[in-house]
Subunit: 577 residues, 2 copies
């Protein structure tokens, strides 16, 4: 039995089992050591491969594709520093709970720790950031080892998707020659091995007595809140709406909660709290008896202040699996159960919120909405740009938002709408890195993606645009260019004149038009809202890259935001309560 | 004592001790959590800061600066995925033995594992790739803790530079508010603490009886070789020349050995072995009794084949510290001693090589040199482009070469020359990533840098060009654009038609002119050698970015190389020996 036949059968059965267990997409970065897996992935008809050259970008691309399709995606690269470039996206995948199957090709044992080229120590190289690591055996094709390689493919996918999803790594040592032979018979070994592995997963449900403990705490409480942070579980939205209706309880909906948009009844949805919770006096008007939070912490910092100040509030955080996402250090009752099922359990219980409590939140929300919608069509601001973006967003498309200022502006200006959209972002570690590639990966699902992003974050990951060009993905970029780190103008560092521009402002002073040209995209610079809306509408209709740039001033922008917040809070405080 | 004063004194004494222990350059990526260190580095007058936005690029920039200056460089970034972007350069620094002081800002303990923004587990996050990790205490300003923070600054630098140099990580938890106060008196604490820490390092020298063991093995041997792989120890070159002269022994000099160029006597230097060792019959003519290697394995693959075939050869590998860089698996006698001192010890011993042995190598080298210099001035090939590059290289400047094809072409076409130059590359893990940034970092030393690089590697790290623009560094790029992965045309994968272009050829199909515009550089596309030499001469005279592009064809290129090698080997075999 030749080396090449052993190699081919071993790799083919692995790849076939990946496909059998639900892998549809594989993101491959070119390299030599990974040749056996790369060629076999291409050869397997059920798998679609995406070739992305920069491994940092490739890993974020896979992250975006997995995030959007809600299915695990496989990643493959060669040995050496290529693997280290995956690290940022692996960290984000772990923290935002996205399943990735990371396949790293490696030198065989005799070429390790002897100064061989492209050989680095890849054993457990991602530390705690992968849920599971396994060093694969060298290719063999005994019955036992072909069962082994299939079982490891199935196990990797199960490990990545069970509990809180996340990344796993399999490290494959390969000896030369590396080119497989696809002419051998029964290569996929299906006849021998009809769907060998299967997994059935249960969901966590609170037992009646556990539920009782929660309900006893809630008994008689009149001023309750549901808070929904970033989450993508589709069935959760309707369960939360049902609960809100049953209890008459306000729901604070993060922009990434998927609750602000869609055709459902939004009577109880409060989406402008970030604006009015900035005011101490207003926060004091809103003492809550209890808060039940679903999903991660909301993006809003004012909400964080509000929560910290709530002294006599019962605080519940619901996690589908384990998790301790409570950064305020507040005493918290963690509920580890399927969120939708838990909502249904609660909805079956009689509870009635104080009507004036609900009215207070709804009225404040209406006042804030009114101000946030006001803007002058002839000028353009970072806020009004986001407002226009939502207005002109294609029905049933994806809004991908960058971190830092972008997601905060979406929080402020994505008001409740009947338009169907999914809002995504990298909120695991909130990095400004890899955002373009993640958005491109989301677009690889076939759904048009509009990306809202600032200039620093866009610069950081321009390599992600190559895949948009190469695969002609439908990606529209709204580039908010304030020539540097806009968010710092909102922080104490802003007063440090001598250091500010060098360390925090960090102006790029580059004309992104050239970058767009490089990737064969459409580019336009807009100076008023009408032009912006037209440009966005046109851009979303076409495949490939379109970049619409808006240039703003960091200092003016901070002042402009402050002005709106002041107006909102003055009117709310002037209101007769 | 206020939080801000504690923070300021703690950080100031750390920064002051870094400067006191030889840190001159700090590469900073913008962020909020790192504010105390960032502002204090800028405030300290002995330190020069470089602001590089993309952390992956920043780390390679620091690597290049440390490589060129042969001094440790500090790196600073904020918490979160920013830190993960350092990973590729940290791996390269570890394997190529370059000292980096990696400073990562972190959230304080109460904000860890609770879903706080930009908080990831940074404890030992780089695994085995840093020589040392230390989690710093929260800022305090007791006498004890100010001594502690100074000692850790000194220790970090010593750990990074002792033995085989490499990267170390200090992780700094900081609480808000983060802005230090530079108005407090005696901030640097110098009065209290005049140069507290110092280190004196010894060098490893073989004891007489250890040296005797080596000399006994060599006694009576007539056909010896010295092989010098990649290395940057300046004093080694002259020691090796002296030894070669004393023994009349041929020296195979890798392009990164720093032995091919400079005013010294090159009588014994053999630099074209990569060409003629490709031929089995020629390798058979060159049975060696012993080989003494300094530095890492040479770039040349034919040399690897040659070494593997040497059955009755004593093989010595000299490492200044510990190391096992012997990928052929050949029985090897490792000598752990200062290479220059070891050369001097050997030179004092009578040894005489067989004259015909030396003549054989020198004659083959002359034949190869003659062919490698022949080329047609009206056309241009990847080989002749490198030849022209060396011709037109500025005296006393740096040639930075990319990996993959670039370094192999330098190996083939950098013939011995009196011109002074330093040849650098990332040969730790031989990655195609981070090359532009590393070259930019080398140029930050003030020495003009000419970078030879292929299109894939250039694309991978274009973000590195921002620093070239921002600091107007003197960087000339010779971009060899064969629209994809040229090296694969030399590998077995080349015959895999169906997969080749998609998986290995991976054409980018982008016009780099736009990328150069983006960074305000000079760009020109040249089509013959005369134009190339003029363009390179002009480019090296000016600061800022200049890119000279040569477009070639991958398949033709492979054929062209083969043609030269065949001609060389035919003439050598036809020669009367």
């Amino acid at each position: 039995m030749s080396h090449t036949e052993r190699l081919t059968r071993y790799v083919a059965e692995f790849v076939d089992e990946m496909a059998a267990n639900g892998i549809e997409n594989v993101v491959i970065s070119p390299g030599s050591r990974s040749t056996p897996l790369a060629m076999t992935f291409v050869e397997h008809e059920q798998l679609k491969e995406w070739i992305v050259i920069d491994e940092r970008s490739a890993a974020f691309f896979a992250l975006g594709l997995a995030k959007k399709t809600k299915k695990p995606v496989a990643l493959l690269c060669s040995s050496g520093t290529a693997t280290a470039n995956y690290f940022p996206a692996i960290v984000e995948a772990k923290q935002s709970r996205v399943p990735l199957i990371v396949l790293t090709a490696d030198r065989p044992h005799e070429l390790r720790d002897v100064g061989a080229p492209q050989a680095i120590d890849q054993i457990k190289m991602y530390g705690n950031y992968v849920k599971w690591f396994h060093e694969m055996a060298l290719p063999e094709d005994s019955e036992m080892m072909l069962d082994y390689v299939r079982s490891k493919a199935a196990q990797a996918i199960d490990m990545a998707t069970e509990g809180n999803p996340g990344p796993v790594q399999l490290n494959f040592p390969f000896r030369e020659p590396l080119v497989p032979d696809f002419t051998i018979d029964d290569m996929w070994g299906k006849k021998r091995n009809p769907d060998k592995y299967g997994f059935s997963k249960g969901e966590k449900v609170l037992a009646p007595y556990e539920l009782q403990r929660v309900l006893e705490k809630l008994a008689g409480k009149k001023n309750g809140l549901i808070v929904c942070g970033p989450q993508t579980d589709i069935k959760l939205a309707s369960a939360i709406f049902a609960l809100a209706k049953a209890w008459g309880i306000p729901v604070l909906a993060d922009p990434l909660s998927q609750l602000r948009s869609g055709k459902h009844d939004k009577t109880y949805i409060i989406e402008t709290y970030d604006a009015f919770l900035r005011d101490q006096a207003i926060r004091d008007m809103l003492d809550a008896d209890f808060i039940i939070r679903f999903g991660a912490m909301p993006v809003s910092k004012p909400y964080l202040f509000y929560l910290k100040e709530q002294k006599n509030t019962l605080h519940f955080v619901v996690e589908a699996e384990e998790g301790y996402r409570e950064p305020t250090g507040k005493r918290t009752h963690f509920i580890s159960a399927d969120p939708a099922t838990f909502c249904e359990q609660l909805a079956r219980t009689e509870m009635q919120m104080d009507v004036s409590w609900l009215r207070k939140w709804v009225t404040m929300n209406e006042i804030a909405e009114k101000h946030l919608q006001q803007h002058n069509k002839d000028e353009i601001t970072e806020g009004s740009a986001v407002y226009s973006l939502v207005e002109s967003l294609l029905h049933d498309s994806t809004l991908f938002t960058g971190n830092s200022m972008a997601v905060r502006d979406v929080d402020s200006f994505l008001l409740q709408t009947d338009k169907q959209m999914e809002v995504l972002a990298n909120r695991g570690a909130n990095g400004i890195d890899g955002v373009v590639s993640t958005a491109a990966g989301a677009a690889a699902s076939g759904n048009p993606v509009t990306l809202l992003i600032g200039d620093l974050s866009f610069f950081h990951d321009m390599n992600g645009l190559l895949a948009v060009k190469h695969y002609q993905l439908n990606v529209t970029v709204l580039l908010i260019n304030n020539n540097g780190g806009g968010i710092f103008s909102f922080l104490p560092q802003a007063s440090e004149g001598k250091y500010f521009e060098a360390l925090f402002g960090t102006p790029l002073n580059i004309d992104f038009k050239h970058a767009v040209k490089l990737y064969g995209g459409d580019y336009c610079l807009v100076e008023n809202e009408t032009a912006l809306q037209e440009a966005l509408a046109k851009a979303q209709q076409q495949t490939g890259l379109s970049v619409v740039e808006v240039r703003t001033d960091r200092t003016q922008n901070a002042a402009w935001h402050q002005k709106i917040w002041d107006a909102i809070n003055q009117e709310i405080k002037a209101h007769r309560w």
